[in-house]
Each structure stands twice: as C-alpha cells, then as structure tokens.
Amino acid sequence: MRKGLHPVTIAMLLFGFAFLYAPIVILIIFSFNEGKLVSVWSGFSPKWYGELLRDPQILSAAWMSLKIAAMNASVATVLGLFGAYALGRFGAFKGRTLFTGMMTAPLVMPDVITGLATLLLFVGLAWQRGMSTITIAHITFSMCFVAVIVRARLSSLDQSLEEAAMDLGARPAKTFLLITIPMLAPALVAAWLLAFTLSLDDLVIASFVAGPGSTTLPMVVFSKVRLGVSPEINALGTLIVLLVTLCIVVAALIFQRQEAQRLADAQMADRAD
C-alpha cells in the first residue's frame, strides 16, 4: 500500500516546514547583523550578544525567569504525574468528571482569562504578589500539560510488570516508586522540560500576577519589542533556540541509548529462559 508520498503531499510538507522555520532562521541570521536593523544586512558582527550580556535588566529578568521555571517544572511534574496516574489507573472515583474537566480546561483556556482569574484569587487572599504568585499560576497550567505527556506514556505501558510486582508482595507505593516511575522516566523528563519552557515563555499570566520586583524575561522582551525591533532581541532568541534544541537532542539521544540497552537486556533475558 505504501507507494511513497504523493508529490502534492511532499510539496505541502516542504511549504509547511518552510513556513515554520523561515522566521527562526531569519531571526538567527539577523542576530549577527552589524547594523541596528533586523531586515537589512550590513555586515557580520557578534556585538549584539555582548550588548545582551551587559544588559542588567535582561540578566536579572532572565535569572528570575529561570528560577520560576525550575520551581514550576519540578512541582508541576509531581502534581501532573499524580493527576495522570489517578486518571489512568484509578478507574472510577468520586468527582472524576470534575477532575478531568479541571485537568483539560487549562490546556485551552485563553491566557487573559486565566491571568485575570488567578490575580483576583491572590487579591482576595491578600497574598503578596511576586515570584511565588507567578510560580503558582504557572504550576496550575503546566501540570495539565505534564499530565497529557505522562498519560500518553502510561497508556502505552505494559501493566503486567506492575501487577507482577504486586503479586510478589510489593506494596502499591513501592510498586509505584520502583516500577512505574522508572518506566515513566522518559515521559517525566520530557514533561519537566516542557513545563520549564512553558513557564519561561509565558507573558500574559505572569503580567497579571506579578508584583513589584518580579519582572520576568518575557515581560522585559515585550516592553523592548513594543519600543521597536532590535538585534539584541534576535540574539536572545537565538540563544533560547540553541539551548532548547540542545536539551531536546541530548534528551532524545540518552533515551535512545537507554531504549537500546533495555531491548538488549530483554533479549538476554529471553535467551536465559
């Protein structure tokens, strides 16, 4: 049946990927532009990277964003894992419909609504706004994305291993820690990375719930972009693209090796039978 792709399909793929990647490629190219324009080439220069690294506003905002993103990703991965496990393994329980709803609605909820609603909660609680409120707001939507990734992996896992552990007398908590979590590891790493980047990327929700002294990187970028385009922002974008690509490639390679190792082990075990 597979006779290769139709030329029209190939053309659409090429067009689609060009559309997705052209802006990123152009962004990277003009981060090395000598002049201040981001659309007219006037010579190669890495000077904007120097400007970027000397900009105290960007540096302190970047540090703030990284701290929030790391805390967010760690808490969201645990909460998302618990939520996904409950939905994937517990069957029916009281309040499941409401729980499913709350786990999926944040995936599509417009940021302006979530941002306003979360802010009003913090005002109502008289909670001092700042880093903690941004982190909490980020965890709330990140955990739902984590749960999507974990559930996909959970549903493809062979439950017989977990059942075997229990049959051998392991308590469910031990089975969860020693069998389920290691099998979910690739999904958990991917989920942590996704939660990290979602937080690093959020402008709207953070703007609503931020307080004085908790300016994040997207907030600085947004205010700079509003004043006009600058190769400094291109340089920042290039660094982010490089960092993310590196993380994903490294993670993919590690898991490919682990998967190969696991297959080899399984073959050894088969032969031993």
Partner: protein, 310 residues
C-alpha cells in the same frame, strides 16, 4: 485493563490502598480546586460588583450592615455596559471571525502535513514529528517578534518582492489583519498537526486497501474513508487552535494595527490601562460563556481518546 480478575491492579488498589490512592489524588485535586476553579468563582462575583476608586478597586456585592441577611448590592451594570458600547460587541465578533478563519487556514495547511508525516517511511516519521514539535518549545514571544522583521514595509518579504521585480511599492503587510492571521496560523499550526497526526497514524491500513481493492481511486478512498475517519483529529486540532485564538493578546498587540480589535486585547486594556476590574471580569465571563461549548466539545474528545487508550 483493570478487568484482570481478583489479582488485577485496579482491584488490588481498591481493596488495599484507599489511603494511598487518596495521597496521590488529593494534591492535584486540591491544587486545581484552589488555583483554577476558585478563581473563576471570584471572577463571576467581581463581574457583578461596582467599580470603585480603592484598592482593590471594587465594592463588595453583599452588604452585611443591617442584620443577618445581607443586602445584595451587586449590579449587572457591567454586562449591560458591554452591550451599550460598540467596542465590545465589535471586538467579540472580530475575535471570533479571526479565530475561525485562522483555524480553517491551520486545517488547510496542517492536514496535508499531518497526512504526509503519517504516511512517511518510519525512519522519517519521528524526525518530521520532531520538526513540528521543536518550534513549540522555543519562545512564542520571540517567534511572533520575528515576523515583524519579515512583514514590515522595509522588511525581508517586501525587499525580496521588490528585488524580484514583482512589486515596486512595498505592500502593507504589518499592523493589519493580515499580519494577525499570519501570526496566529504560524503560532498554532503545531497544535493542529499533532492531534491530526495521532489520528491519521493509527488509521487502519486494511480499510484503505479494501477500498483500493474494490476499485476506488486514491482521491475517492481519501474522501470516503480517510477523511471521515479523521474527524476526531480535525475536531481536536480545531478546538486547540480556535479556543486560545479567540482570547489571543500577544499576536494582535505586536502584529496587529491600532484598530485590530480583539477581545483579549480589550480585556488587557480594561485591566491595565483603565483599571476597571469589574468590567474586565465581565468581559472575561462573557468570553467564557461563548467558549463553554467549544471547551466541552474538546473535553468530550479528550475523554473519548482516554477511553480508547485504556
């Protein structure tokens, strides 16, 4: 899966570990009740409050001054206000129009791409899928920003078209509805492709072979078999694009013109510039009322994929 008899995992958990189940379920449950559901109740309350010059800038909706039964001092003025000023109605309709057209454009570009990836040879498939996901991981704000340099009057696209002699005056492509469409389609395209791919990849090949064996032409097989079977993917992808696009703020703010009215932008301005929290809340509730139907459709689909998975 849980139907594994008395030794089944579900039965074991039920019988032995009620408490451990609770330990797993309660943290995410309470978190979402407190930080996701409760805020919406507060928005609802605030949308019927009166604005005031105070901090926080609104009045309580219940007055406990005389006796045990409070007087309702709330107001539905904020909602009627939304209808008295054309701004809000126009912004709503415009947001829906822009989101709808963008969703259709995403579908027209995304469907052939998802189809191509699903039909690509195995070694290519993962790489192509990775290429779809990768932009989604890099800064959304900076990717939207990149379009400014491409679309502006002396931007890359205009320079290219003038250089090729296709046009001699730069086309106005930035700060209008066109650039907003480009920005939304570009940003949300991966959200359309991924559920479509998931659907198309698991499609039963034997159905297509049967159609071909019975003499159906490839395009007829596509229309009669592939397309109807991929409807769940189309619905999921469309909802993932349409719902957030209605409330989009960053794209109309950076790429749109001053007269590109979208409801997310209106809400932002009510809150940050006019500091009218009750009207901002009313705008949010009105937007939510409109989005409830698409959100329920989306959740229904998610629930179905859950069932299919377990």
């Amino acid at each position: 899966m849980s139907a594994g008899g008395a030794g089944g995992l579900g039965a074991r958990l039920r019988a032995r570990l009620f408490s451990q189940r609770t330990v797993v379920l309660l943290p995410p449950y309470i978190w979402l009740l407190l930080f996701f559901l409760a805020p919406f109740v507060i928005v609802l309350k605030l949308s019927i409050s009166e604005a005031a010059i105070a901090m926080p800038p609104y009045l309580p909706i219940l007055d406990w001054a005389d006796g045990l039964i409070p007087d309702f001092t709330g107001t539905f003025y904020n909602f009627s206000f939304l209808f008295t000023d054309d701004l809000y109605v126009v912004a709503y309709l415009n947001s829906i129009k822009i989101a709808l057209v963008s969703t259709i454009a995403c579908l027209l570009i995304g469907y052939p791409m998802a189809y191509g990836i699903a039909k690509a040879p195995g070694t290519w498939r993962n790489a192509l899928l990775m290429l779809v996901i990768l932009p989604f991981w890099t800064s959304f704000l900076i990717r939207v920003y990149a379009w400014i340099g491409i679309l502006k009057n002396n931007g890359i696209l205009n320079n290219l078209l003038i250089g090729l002699g296709i046009i001699d005056q730069p086309l106005p492509m930035l700060h209008n509805d066109f650039s907003v469409y480009v920005g939304i389609v570009y940003s949300y395209l991966p959200f359309m492709i991924l559920p479509l791919y998931a659907n198309l990849a698991k499609m039963d090949e034997s159905l297509l072979e049967a159609a071909a064996d019975l003499g159906a032409k490839p395009w007829k097989t596509f229309l009669a078999v592939t397309l109807p079977l991929s409807v769940p993917g189309i619905v999921a992808g469309s909802m993932l694009v349409f719902i957030p696009a209605v409330g989009e703020f960053v794209i109309p703010e950076l790429l749109g013109g001053p007269d590109t009215l979208m409801i997310g932008r209106v809400l932002w301005n009510e809150f940050f510039h006019n500091r009218d929290w009750p009207v901002a809340s009313a705008v949010a509730i009105a937007m939510l009322l409109f989005l409830v139907v698409p959100i329920v459709i989306f959740q229904h689909y998610q629930g179905k994929t859950d069932e299919a998975a377990s």
